[in-house]
Amino acid sequence: MFADKIGMCLAIPAKIIKINDQLAIVDFQGVKKEINISLVDVKTGDFVMVHAGFAIEKMEEDNVKEIKEYLK
């Protein structure tokens, strides 16, 4: 598989769409992928930062508005 250019630190906020045990479908600006959420405690609708296939941290409720500003 061609993965020469995969950046490790690159990450953008993703919204949790659907949870399935340790995994979740997240949405990055219209692009969806299944990632691992075992390192965070989240529910559907939360925003997380994803890094190399894992959600590394949840973005706080009061900061979600700020996130949406950044996503514009």
């Binding site: 598989m1 061609f2 993965a3 020469d4 250019k5 995969i6 950046g7 690159l10 953008i12 479908i25 990055f28 600006q29 219209g30 692009v31 969806k32 992928k33 299944e34």
Partner: protein, 356 residues
């Protein structure tokens, strides 16, 4: 022979990517081929042959709009396709092959009159898949009215080629050629729609992302014909994306191209995939878009016409005077959202293999 040929005894994957190394490889091959004949524009999307003044009668050309203008130039082009995967959201190798060649003629300002179809197929390839691919080719042929007039089919033993390779050559007629070196200082730079979606469709499939974005693969003949008289230069940003073609256009016209980050033409999904995969979005190919330069006085009119085909057609920058060495042109520059100015170079590195 330059350093590249001497040091590299093998052909590297990067040399097919559309970036700097591709340029070098092509340059080295050209240096060997010594017979030029009377063809012009041999470094453009299609080569041009000046016919003797003749009136071409409108024959069975289907939907393309032939009238009794004199077409004094014959344009000839060819393209090979090894896209992987063969079937992707928005198209397949057949669709991209025929559109690719038709578009190479279209961006030269030519009206395609016939194409050839060569297939090299690996033993074991299914008849069903082959039929799907040929149907795709036929669909575009019907829509554009351009016939497949000749071809060849070969089958190799299993393992000697990866599934299928398609080569399509095409011939078109033009009264005025839109070359890739015609940009003039003061022109606006335009795009016919949002860029990079072919790349998104393929990358999403390869790396398991789900998105609504489909390949932008489509024929551009009618779109370009609707505004061709206003265009000073024109190219379709396939391999190497916008970065590759704008650099080529700037270099060949010896001008400077300036873009604004605020008005760039990429959907948010396209930017998202580029960030997730760490691949520069400016190198994302499109297979159904063109970029062009237009004199400022016509650019709004051109955009209005093009928006009838695609609402996202827009002006993305302007052509300025080249301050530095006239040989290399002024390069392509981006005014970032924070107000700084960054150069956009021709892409280097492996880029994205087998995207077209």
């Amino acid at each position: 022979m330059n350093n590249s040929m001497k040091n590299n005894k093998i052909i590297e994957l990067e040399m097919g990517g559309g970036g700097k190394k591709s340029e070098e490889l092509i340059g080295n091959i050209r240096n060997i081929l010594s017979v030029k004949g009377k063809w012009q524009n041999t470094k453009d999307d299609g080569a041009v042959f000046e016919l003797f003044a003749s009136r071409t009668r409108a024959t069975n050309a289907g939907h393309t709009n032939f009238n009794s203008k004199s077409f004094s130039k014959l344009v000839f082009t060819t393209d090979a396709f090894i896209v992987d995967p063969l079937f992707f959201p928005g198209g397949d190798i057949g669709k991209i092959a025929i559109c690719g060649t038709l578009n190479d003629l279209a961006v030269m300002g030519a009206k395609p009159i016939g194409i050839s179809l060569s297939l090299v197929i690996e033993e074991g390839f299914t008849q069903a898949d082959l039929e799907k691919i040929i149907q795709s080719i036929n669909k575009i042929s019907k829509i554009t009215g351009v016939p497949i007039v000749t071809g060849d089919t070969k089958v190799t033993e299993k393992g000697k080629i990866d599934k299928i390779e398609i080569t399509i050559s095409g011939v078109g007629l033009a009264s005025k050629i839109i070359s890739n070196d015609g940009a003039k200082v003061g022109d606006d730079i335009i795009v016919s729609g949002d860029l990079g979606e072919h790349a998104v469709a393929l990358l999403a499939k390869r790396f398991n992302y789900q998105t609504k974005i489909k390949s932008d693969c489509q024929p551009l003949i009618d779109e370009i014909q609707s505004v061709s008289k206003y265009l000073t230069s024109c190219k379709d940003p396939t391999r190497g994306g916008m970065a590759a073609v704008l650099n080529e256009m700037s270099q060949k016209s010896k001008t400077k191209f300036v873009l604004e980050e605020k008005t760039l033409s990429y959907k948010k999904e396209t930017v998202a995939i580029s960030e997730l995969l760490g691949i520069d979005v400016f190198s994302f190919p499109s297979e159904g878009r063109f970029v062009a330069t237009v004199p400022k006085k016509y650019s709004k009119k051109v955009i209005k016409i093009l928006q009838k085909f695609n609402k996202s057609a827009k002006i993305i920058g302007w052509v300025g005077r080249s301050a530095s060495s006239a040989d290399k042109g002024g390069g392509v520059w981006l005014k970032t959202k924070i107000g700084s100015i960054k150069r956009i170079e021709t892409p280097r590195g492996k880029l994205i293999p087998r995207i077209c």
